[in-house]
């Protein structure tokens, strides 16, 4: 009798597990289906795609060759890489300096200024494009890398996030540094930054992705093909292709998405622990 119930329990567990796997596989398929289909069709002749027959065996790299030679997709990628990297470095730098001031410096109106900065977190950039467009036009920044970098050098969100991180630094450390005669710059550079590495990396990833995904602003402020970042570039391809050369469009999308997916895969472990450490509990 004992044996029977043990077997039964085992069978039940096995059944439960297969149900769980079934659910997981189903969900995974739903999530990655658009990727897989896009990637698959990027190898198909556009003729077949236009007929809606996806079970073609005429796989080739022709669409990729077309994307690389007929479009400026590589240039778009390069532009985005440069812009996003610069934004990332500068954003972390300026936000951390400001956060340092709010945590370790004593000056008049500090709290008032902090609340003013905090208040700007509520203001969406999307609601401010009209005057911002006028501003960058008057500054002569239109159609230039700078126009996609300068407005995003700092942010209230970044300052707030790093302030929270810097507040975790033990007061003893600062006291010891004062005794040692470390200047603020030295304490900032040698202690504060290394101490808050995880928050800095999280903010860096956030700002890089934010810049990489910019859409509306570059679309308004850049007109030259050789300056276009990648999102806007794909938009351009998609609207120019009146013949709906889907094979080439999918190849371009793959060229854009595959590098990010690889970075994501590599950074995944770190990212997860970083997010958890970011204490959204």
């Amino acid at each position: 009798m004992e044996n029977v119930s043990v077997q039964q329990a085992q069978r039940q567990r096995r059944l439960g597990n297969s149900l769980k796997y079934f659910g997981l596989v189903l969900l995974a398929l739903i999530v990655i289906f658009p990727f897989v289909l896009g990637l698959w069709t990027s190898f198909l002749p556009s003729m077949d795609i236009a007929k809606g027959s996806y079970w073609s065996t005429h796989l080739s790299l022709n669409n990729y060759v077309a994307a690389f030679t007929k479009t400026k997709i590589l240039r778009y990628l390069f532009n985005s890489l440069v812009i996003s990297t610069l934004v990332m470095i500068a954003h972390v730098f300026f936000c951390s300096l400001a956060a340092y001031a709010f945590v370790f410096l004593k000056f008049k109106y500090r709290d008032a200024l902090f609340y003013i900065v905090l208040a700007t977190m509520m203001l969406p950039f999307e609601a401010e494009v009209i005057p911002n467009f006028t501003t960058v036009r008057q500054l002569g920044l239109l159609n230039h890398y700078a126009v996609m970098i300068i407005p995003f050098l700092t942010s209230a969100f970044g300052i707030f996030m790093l302030r929270q991180a810097f507040l975790q630094i033990p007061a003893d450390l600062k006291a010891a540094a004062d005794v040692e005669g470390l200047s603020h710059w030295q304490f900032y550079w040698q202690v504060t930054l290394p101490y808050s590495k995880i928050s800095l990396v999280t903010l860096a990833a956030y700002s890089f992705l934010g810049s990489w995904n910019q859409y509306l602003w570059p679309m308004l402020t850049t007109f030259s093909d050789h300056l276009r970042p990648v999102q806007d570039g794909l938009r351009q391809l998609q609207s120019e292709e009146t013949f709906n050369d889907w094979g080439m469009i999918q190849a371009s999308a793959a060229i854009v998405v595959v590098p990010t997916l690889i970075v994501l895969l590599i950074g995944q472990h770190y990212f997860k622990s970083g997010l958890n450490a970011g204490a959204v509990k």
Partner: protein
Amino acid sequence: MLESLPSTKPQQPTNHHPFTKQSTTTKVASFELRKNDKYYAWLFLGPSLLLLGVFVFYPMLRTFYLSLFLTNNFGQPTVFVGVQNYLNLLKSAPYLASLRATVTYVVGVAVLTLVLGLLLAAMANQKLRGIGFFRTIFTATMGVSVSVSAIFWLFMFNPTTGVLNQIVMFFGGQPIAWLTKPGWAMVAVIVTSVWMHLGFTFLLFFGALQSVPKSLYDAADVGGASAWYQFWHITLPMISPTMFFVGVVTLISAFKSFGLIDLMTAGGPTDATNLLVYRIYKDAFMNGNYAQASTESIILAVIIAVITLVQFKLLAKRVTY
């Protein structure tokens, strides 16, 4: 670098450290530092304050100012009209339709993202062989930008060759005019947006689920509580802060949707997906009606500010300022 700071014995000078001073000078030094704070504050805060001033504060004030005027084709204010722009907008049927469409979209995206994200996280939070593979797949959409998402889904929504209609027809249904029928166009942009948000939402929920203390479940097991009971009475309360956070972030992000609309529907058909930000863009940069676009911007800003304020209020309970 940290180790080189003798934090426990500050009195003892260490010769290898380049910034060590004799203990007799420390009082003077720290006094000087205090005095220097003001200059450092200017130096450290200056760039950020300048940039926030130019690109966040000034444009908000300017937008509000413009919303009280009529404007010419160059966006210059001409006639002061007070709140007339607001009154006109709130009486304008197209604008109200836009507002309704935005609410439909935003609520649809937030609710579906929350439910699906939680489902993915709960499924991935099991102890099974090869579960890491599924976790990786569930985060995959984090790497997909708005244009790529739009391209993937536009392809699937294609009325004649798209895979979705092929599936519909396989099951004997009539092909659906995705993107050209108002109701379906809304469904299409919501689905795409949910898919785009899913990876990030999953990651946050997964982190939250992992941080629920295991002892709580053990205790419930001993008490003989069912899995369903445990989910409702342990898991949900423990992750409710994350749910709230994710909900607000998704809500705000959906309110700002522009790229998806621009690429998939361009606000159509017949303005069915003409969401607030897209409308602002069209009014300002295509129709040259800067006053109306400014008014719409202020309304959008107020909506987002209110949501953010609620979030701050609730976050303040957990975050120490």
